[in-house]
Symmetry: C2
Subunit: 170 residues, 2 copies
DNA sequence: ACTGAAAGGGTCAAAAC
DNA sequence: GTTTTGACCCTTTCAGT
């Protein structure tokens, strides 16, 4: 994941705007202005800055793969072989595989945690087979997800205003 | 996660529209129409249907917590106690904790896989302490993420057009 | 499934505070 | 650095085919 060189400096107004976006699930500058009491033009001005700092990456549609028919979720742990320089390319290969939506390269016994969303048992089988055959993969542990309680699609809902203030101000 | 009663019935045009949204990272009906060659009015018509089927949940901003200052990611496995009816409420409690962005209730030795995004070591400590103290939590395994190669923010990019056709048509 | 037209908001730039 | 204004453009909706 690319990230900006330095973190954004945010203030109370930015936090208000960001929390309103997350909590009311809107992107209408008009509504944000209504809810926060910040003038519309200022909302636009701040939004522009937040976009420049890449805190807001894009305005886009929130697609629900589950509703589309990819209802099976797996958490897969991947233990890789020893070679130092196989991690990077292996991570990229993982990120390219159909159905894999998240790839975390981690410290510890497990080298990668991967999340996949699949449509049917056949697609599950295909994925596991593909993974086992990948160069550098030593072992995989696949865990079936009974239910997804929180899927990270609105991440700012998951951080309270107080935490944002405590951790981001000054 | 709520989900619609039945899956959406999609056809080639819907797949074209959805893939264009994901690949070009646009939500402009105008651009979608341009890229796919489907008349603007039809694009609008299909988009409305996709919204009604909740495949498209919302148009929203894509917020990058990392860019905001929550740069530390952990994958946390949670092993719960024995009682049957503690899972549901425990899952909900997990989803409410500050910094936790994903919660998967899983089959197997680990009961929950959780992903958290945090700002600093103090927030990490707070989270682990909170988790260990939760009723029903027997043990936690926290894994530090060295780098996030794919964060699921544009899930449809992760499914090829061929797979969509194979798995969703008929 | 597609068209055309009308209405409502969003966006951008210039300028004032 | 923030706010106002106004003009332009795109999206959305609806009645009609």
């Amino acid at each position: 994941m690319d990230q900006p060189d330095t973190d954004m400096d945010v203030d109370e107004k930015d936090i208000d705007i960001l929390k309103t976006i997350a909590d009311t699930e809107t992107r209408s500058p008009d509504r944000i202005s209504e809810v926060t009491g910040i003038p519309l033009s200022t909302v636009n001005y701040r939004l522009k800055q937040l976009r420049e700092a890449e805190v807001i990456r894009n305005d886009h549609y929130d697609i629900d793969l589950e509703a589309l028919g990819f209802e099976i979720t797996f958490v897969i742990q991947i233990i890789a072989g020893y070679e130092e320089d196989t991690y990077e390319p292996l991570g990229e290969k993982l990120a390219d595989i159909d159905g894999i939506t998240h790839v975390y390269f981690t410290a510890g016994d497990t080298d990668f945690f991967v999340i996949a969303q699949l449509s049917d048992p056949e697609m599950v089988e295909d994925l596991i087979t593909t993974l086992e055959r990948l160069d550098g993969v030593e072992r995989t542990i696949s865990t079936y997800t009974i239910s997804t309680l929180l899927d990270g699609h609105e991440p700012l809902q998951q951080i309270s205003r107080e935490t944002m203030r405590d951790r981001l101000l000054d």
